[in-house]
Amino acid sequence: MIEGVGLPEILSVTTILFFIGVYGFFTRTNLIAMLMSLELMVNAEAVNFVAINKYLSPAFLQGQIFSLFIIALAAAETALALAIILHLYRLTSNIDVREVKELKY
């Protein structure tokens, strides 16, 4: 735990980070920019897991182990999403969600 900083402060920062990611996900139309907003959200989640584990039950390690799994899953997800985006770009020369309709049907 951090000296002089309580759990609510850390959770507030991660909440703000998460909702900045949500805002980006709402307003962006480029697929890669949407994926980057998703990364912000996933990071906020991982910090939450570690901080809550450190402050509320420091004798156990569940949250800290699961944050490792979150990072592994995020890496796999990003690789697959970027592969799909690259394939889409080759097919349509466009990765704007308003104009790409190939995945819709």
């Binding site: 735990m1 000296e3 900083v5 759990l7 609510p8 959770l11 507030s12 920062v13 909440t15 703000i16 980070l17 909702f19 900045i20 990611g21 949500v22 805002y23 980006g24 709402f26 307003t27 962006r28 139309t29 480029n30 890669i32 920019a33 994926l35 980057m36 990364e39 912000l40 990071n43 991982a46 910090v47 570690v50 450190k54 402050y55 509320l56 420091p58 004798a59 390690l61 800290q64 182990i65 490792l68 799994f69 990072i71 592994a72 890496a75 796999a76 997800e77 990003t78 690789a79 697959l80 970027l82 592969a83 799909i84 690259l86 394939h87 770009y89 097919l91 349509t92 990765i95 308003r98």
Partner: protein, 173 residues
């Protein structure tokens, strides 16, 4: 001292995150995202979970950022500004996100027992490794193996998807 560093890191995280989701240039957005990830690894260092900070630096700031930058370079017309929603419609997502964030922060501060004070603990790499490969009832060897298979599947899937033929496009046209 740690308090000051925490607030500096928080300011860096929030400021660069906002710049990352609002800038019109995609390449700059990736750079701002990189600063956010570095500051988050600083938070892990402050929480005395050094292994997680190293993983954050190497996997996120190293691996995923390189992937994203390559994807940007391969797909984006660099210099062409991103399309944004009209300013008069921008008020809706801003209000929705600020409202939900305020509600969540209110819920956090009013939760009973949130200010619990426990003794400080340092998570060492040995502890994490023993937990990850432990067969005991609170061990994590099964999720560990499942994640390794998932990473293999994701790698094969990414290769198969990304190397599809280009001829499909010409037939369609």
């Amino acid at each position: 001292m740690e308090k000051i560093i925490f607030y500096i890191l928080s300011a860096v995280i929030i400021g660069f995150a906002i710049m990352s989701v609002t800038t019109r240039k995609l390449y700059r957005a990736t750079m701002y995202l990189l600063f956010v990830l570095l500051a988050i690894s600083g938070i892990y260092f402050l929480l005395e979970y050094n292994f997680m900070a190293a993983v954050q630096l190497s996997v996120y700031a190293g691996g995923i950022m390189v992937l994203i930058i390559y994807a940007v370079v391969l797909t984006d017309k660099i210099g062409e500004p991103l399309r944004q929603i009209p300013t008069k419609w921008n008020i809706v997502p801003v209000l929705v996100t600020i409202g939900t964030a305020a509600l969540s922060i209110y819920a956090i501060f009013s939760f009973p027992g949130i200010n619990a004070k426990n003794q400080a603990s340092v998570t060492s790499v040995e502890q994490v490794g023993e937990k990850l490969l432990s067969y005991a009832p609170d061990g994590y060897v099964l999720p560990f193996e499942v994640v390794s298979i998932l990473l293999l599947a994701a790698m094969i899937g990414a290769i198969v998807i990304a190397k599809a033929k280009k001829i499909v496009n010409q037939e369609k046209n």
